[in-house]
């Protein structure tokens, strides 16, 4: 029988090996896609286009960070597409009301937090399945978004707001800075703090977590709120990129966010997943959309190819993990 060994803190090279083990399957898919697109279109592998992809992927990636938390807990949040839309509209209305950029921003984030909080409270306190709670709030929030303008989009002319989506800071688009900061924030929170640890444990076995003194309900509410805030940030970026709040914004983005998380190795059963994986998953989706547009693949074929790539990538990943035993 084996002896108890204590792994020493991992050195750089060893970390690389661990990362390759963990993300091998999914990285292969990403690299493969990039190679294929580079071969088929010489403009794919340019700084301009890669910046492009990152910007396009930002909205889904940020929502997917929030979704990763929720899925880690073994729950699901189908309302984030609607929250994205409400956030944009809340921002547009606040700006139109003349409160100024920063208050509008805070108001929007608060709106996102509130919507997430509602999801969390309904799931935790009424003990309803989050799938059904968020299917319901998906409709409710989508209904609310149309009330101020009766369905019409709301223009946004505030220069600071629109700058988020189009300006650069130190040569890099602000939007990419935001994705980067949020990635680090979520990654560190998940992998280095007790909050992250509690999330993993609760997702792994809710009952055991409860008996170990984890306040499961509170944690659930906190995480749905976090997911709401992430969706609100997505909504801010989207409305800023579009110079307007659309009432049909973010429709079905929840599925893209879930796909990104699952592609990245997050288990829908809860307890397993990382932010790095989710980022890679989101990049796969972004690269695929961009690459097929560059190649002028007709829309219907794009749908088919996208589905196939998701299947193959998840399969490669599952297979790689199984091999490692």
């Amino acid at each position: 029988m084996t002896q108890t060994t204590d792994n020493t803190p991992r050195a750089g090279r060893q970390q690389l090996v661990v990362a390759l083990h963990q993300y091998g399957g999914i990285l292969v898919s990403l690299v493969l896609l990039c190679v294929i697109f580079t071969l088929l279109n010489e403009r794919f592998m340019t700084v301009a286009n890669l910046t492009n992809i990152l910007q396009q992927v930002a909205v889904v990636a940020i929502a997917a960070f929030g979704m990763t938390w929720v899925i880690l807990l073994g729950e699901i949040d189908l309302s984030i597409g609607s929250i994205i839309a409400v956030a944009g509209m809340a921002g547009a209305q606040a700006l139109a009301f003349g409160v100024g950029f920063v208050p509008a921003l805070l108001f929007t984030l608060a709106a996102g937090a509130l919507m997430g909080l509602i999801n969390g409270v309904l799931t935790a306190k009424l003990a309803l399945p989050s799938f059904i709670v968020t299917v319901a709030t998906m409709g409710i929030y989508r209904g609310f978004v149309s009330l101020p303008t009766n369905g019409a989009p709301a223009m946004i002319s505030d220069a600071s707001w629109t700058a988020i989506g189009s300006d650069r800071l130190a040569g890099i688009p602000i939007i990419i800075w935001i994705v980067g900061v949020l990635f680090i924030f979520n990654h560190v929170l998940l992998s280095r703090t007790t909050f992250g640890r509690r999330t993993y444990l609760t997702g792994g076995n809710r009952e055991a977590a409860l008996y170990s003194g984890i306040k499961v309900d509170r944690l659930k509410i906190a995480i749905f709120t976090l997911s709401g805030v992430m969706a609100a940030i997505s909504g801010i970026l989207l409305s800023s990129r579009l110079y307007s709040a659309q009432t049909n914004a973010g429709m079905s983005y929840e599925l893209d966010a879930i796909a990104a998380a699952v592609l990245g190795g997050t288990s829908l059963a809860g307890g397993v997943g990382t932010m790095v994986g989710t980022l890679i998953g989101a990049l796969i989706i972004g690269v695929m959309n961009n690459g097929m547009n560059m190649l002028s693949v007709p829309y219907f074929y794009q749908l088919i190819v996208k589905g196939l790539v998701i299947l193959i990538a998840v399969w490669l990943d599952v297979r790689a993990k199984r091999r490692q035993g």
Binding site: T5, R197, G213
Partner: protein, 502 residues
Amino acid sequence: MSEATPVVLSMRDVSKRFGPVEALKSMRLEVRPGRVHTILGENGAGKSTLMKILVGVHPPSGGEMRLEGRPYQPQSPRDAAAQGIAIVFQELSLCNNLTVAENIMAMHEPSRLGFINDRELRARAAELVRDLGLPVDVDAKVGRLSIAQRQLVEIAKGLSRPAKVLILDEPTSSLSDSEAEILFLIIDRLKARGTAILYISHRMEEIMRLSDDITVIRDGAYVATRQRDETSIEELITLMVGRRMDEIYPLRLAPAPGPEVAPALEVQGLSGPGFREISFDVRPGEILGFFGLIGSGRSEVMKALFGMGAHTGQVLLGGKPARIGSPAEAIAAGIGFVTENRKEEGLVLGAAVRPNISMAALPQFAGSAGFLRFGRERRAALDEVRRLAIRTSSLNTIAGTLSGGNQQKIVLAKWLLTRPRVLILDEPTRGVDVGAKFEIYRIIRELAAEGTAILLVSSELPEVLGLADRIAMMSEGALKATLARSELTPERVMAHATGTHQ
């Protein structure tokens, strides 16, 4: 050896690998009809793996098996059952969403053209349950039964089809003595009918009483086969752990605290679903045993104390009234709770050993801004692994891949880290081998010596008698009596537990 009786099932050189883990190597076994053949080995020795190979859950990596002289290669448990080999699994494998009858008759429901005859199904299940004398309602949903009742249902399910060989993997680990007696009667009847029985248990007294043949295995390898009449508990333990063990119940390290010591925990008139008017106290350094039949309400009382159930009544900790509404509050108040169902309430099976050990004591490892102090956590976890001699290849091993006994030790380790003033142990040695049991007893003694007040719920009479300073007897949700050490005899305890005492 009773060479006279023919061999019904045999295996030779059977091995099994799970990736890097060699769970079995060169295993051999001969099983004869009408005899109880016990497999004895430490936790993780490979007993369950062996049984799962026998019923086609896992294919063997090598070796050959023969059933009645013919090569035997079961493809699935159903295939094995069709060939006459039935099993009662160690880990409960019932469907909580269905009734007892539906579970018992699963996959051989009386049916015509695919249509199930429900009346017939219930009648057959009820007949079987009545025949076996099991105290369960066949129309009850399994999810609402206690663990012990589920274990009985599991046994009924295993017996629902005629079998040449019946495998029982730790069937008594969740049963108290009176339920175990029911099982032993059943085993005697089957023996008489010529059924061969493969039996696994960690309870030595039971093994010596029941077995005809005993095969000892160690680290996945065959060690020896003995006939019961030719051997002794001491010899078997020596064969199993590779060294001599003279004493199973370690002695007290310090004398039990006298009545002058103020109680660490006082409970007055605690009532709730499944129990009423429970009053007791326990002093620092004292071990208070809780004995009773299954379903007597002990676990419900402990859950209530731990903030996991509605209750009325008073709880005093260190003399001060405490309001405990959640496990978080209980832990903060210095209570620890080793729950009875480690798979559901104890462990995060999919997580590694380290986070499992630290999970109840997480605040200890929280640095500024909620950052985890990994080094500290690792050292603490490692200390516990060494102290409890948990067999795991590393702290990063997934808890679910460890053997049952080692999983149990991890649950214990988790609670030791919280340094509780009052530690509740609900069936702490369920499914644990004698060696590990001794270690757990030793730790319980150590904790007591350090001044921890201990509530020990156990359905094993020798365990309670061997460890407790006083014993609280529970029956049908009420506390019948609390006996002091001087009054403790097996007869008196059983009389109280079964309610025959007046």
